[in-house]
């Protein structure tokens, strides 16, 4: 009896040692590149630091500046606008597209659709964003050319503070819808065909099947996609950087772009870290709220 326990203990000890041995590379990397940076993000706002001159302790000055800075309200507002536009767009349209493609009977055609829709999401954002600005240019872009052919006026795609959101949304749809699409597509494939069969026998149309069967069955995937998309949109940087340069004015300057400008263009590391901390707290809050709300609508056990 005692022998057995000691064997068990020995195994447990071995498990502990080998567990941490296997984990050690990740643990070290985690501490250096995630844990320490997070802690430094908490500490850096207390300093005035520009990488060259000695760091100067300034107490809560950066926070005071942060709350007094009216640009901050605008910048966080801009990121929230993107959140409200892009997150539902990707989460809803991605699902509808996945449903539509999944319903395509012809296998080869279905694979082509899947490939084409997914493809833009893997190409370099920087390069295609550059190309998009040429397409949307007011006078020389071909999109306005076609609108003019239809007898419409030039649309200020890049120069109107509201319209730029539409432009970026179009770009974002084209560039990233494939990501959410693929997640949904895989999720939908896990729904047994028999569910659809029985619904069809009951005389349900495609829309009904979608709302009554598909959506309830993929809520876990929807939840996953909502979380991933939210975190992604919070960090939106390339789109405003390339398409609008944050303008007109500051109307599309996102928090991420602001952090880059403050910390790396104006060399104000302390203040940049203050903004980054704000972003971090905001993401954490939103994610936690989403997580807490999930049991209201996410159904895991559907079998």
């Amino acid at each position: 009896m005692t022998k057995k326990i000691s064997v068990f203990k020995k195994k447990q000890r071995w498990d502990n040692i080998s567990g941490y041995l296997f984990l050690s590379p990740a643990l070290i990397a985690f501490v250096i590149f995630i844990a320490i940076p997070i802690i430094m993000t908490l500490v850096l706002p207390l300093f005035n630091y520009n990488l060259i001159l000695p760091a100067e302790f300034v107490g809560l000055d950066n926070f005071k500046d942060f709350f007094a800075d009216e640009d901050m309200a605008i910048v966080f507002g801009n990121t929230s606008k993107f959140l409200l536009i892009l997150t539902p767009m990707h989460c809803i349209l991605g699902l509808i597209l996945a449903y539509m493609v999944q319903r395509v009977k012809h296998t080869a055609l279905r694979n082509i659709f899947r490939g084409v829709i997914y493809f833009p999401s893997i190409v370099t954002t920087a390069s295609v964003a550059i190309a998009f600005t040429y397409m949307f240019s007011t006078d020389s872009g071909f999109i306005n050319y076609y609108l003019r052919q239809l007898g419409l006026n030039n649309v200020p795609w890049l120069t109107d503070s509201n319209m730029v959101y539409v432009t970026i949304a179009i770009f974002s749809f084209w560039k990233f819808i494939g990501t959410t699409f693929l997640y949904y597509f895989i999720g939908l494939n896990n729904i047994p065909e028999s569910y659809y069969e029985s619904a069809r026998i009951d005389g349900a149309g495609p829309v009904q099947i979608f709302t009554r069967i598909t959506v309830p069955l993929v809520t876990p995937v929807i939840f996953f996609v909502v979380i991933i998309t939210t975190i992604g949109v919070f960090q939106i940087f390339n789109e405003p950087y390339f398409i609008t340069n944050g303008g007109p004015g500051v109307s599309t300057t996102t928090v991420a772009l602001k952090i880059y400008r403050v910390a790396f263009q104006q060399n104000n590391i302390g203040y940049g870290a203050t903004v980054a901390l704000g972003l971090f707290i905001l993401i954490m809050m939103v994610t936690v709220i989403q997580y807490l709300m999930q049991n209201k609508w996410v159904v895991y056990d559907y079998e």
């Binding site: 498990d15 990397a29 993000t41």
Partner: protein
Amino acid sequence: MNKSKKIFSGMWHNALLILLAVMMLLPFTWIFSTSLRLPKDSFKFPPNFLPTSFHFENYTTVFQTFPFLNFIFNSLFVGIVAGIFNIIVTTMAAFAFARIRFKGRGPLFVIFLAGLMIPMQATIIPTFIIMSKVKLVGTLWALIIPAMITPLSIFLVRQFMMTIPKSYEEAAYMDGANRFLIYLKIILPMSKSVIIMTSLINFLFNWNNFMGPLIYLSDWEKMTIPIGLRMLQGYQGTGSISVIFAGVFMSIVPALLLYLFGQKYLVKGAAISGLKS
């Protein structure tokens, strides 16, 4: 009656998707055909989405005026080296989380997962300071080393490894294999598809990463493709559009090749790992 209605709706359905697919491909054909035109023909109306002329010298210009070969090499170097490091770190950690019952496993896993929430912008400033202390700013290592650890990969690979039946391992224990051998000889080969998938995701992330190189790299011979392309645009956007698009198109090609190679893994791997639950 019912049948004809079905076919009809199926037609609409397909037509809509075909239209969408064409719209999604048009920018690519436009980029490609513009990259083969003279700059002065780039903005002619009506636009032409198919090549009208073949000025391949736009492509040679990219290589002549820019260290574009360096850009490609640097991007590949970062993508591959960071990918290899990442596979080692990820699979070892995933193995520990999935197959070993050690003390503190639960809380540690949650902490790792929480790493998913952390925006790149929140860590990039401190990481930059760390990198400048170890004098790696300006080198590709500043991009490679932090890319070693990606919480999402650890999560996905761990989810997959959980599904491997215990019996495989137990049989190996009987034969006197140790943990490391089990990891190397049994679990790793069985996790091939999910490893390929996460590696593809990571490679594409590094290949497309813009903010990192923007901050870390300055010497243009050390630049990666995305930041190099930004330079093709020139000071105040003075670069020639044809040449820019030639560069843009070349940056798309590797992604395309990788995609054709890896598509089935991307789908299969994602399907198995965790997205079900």
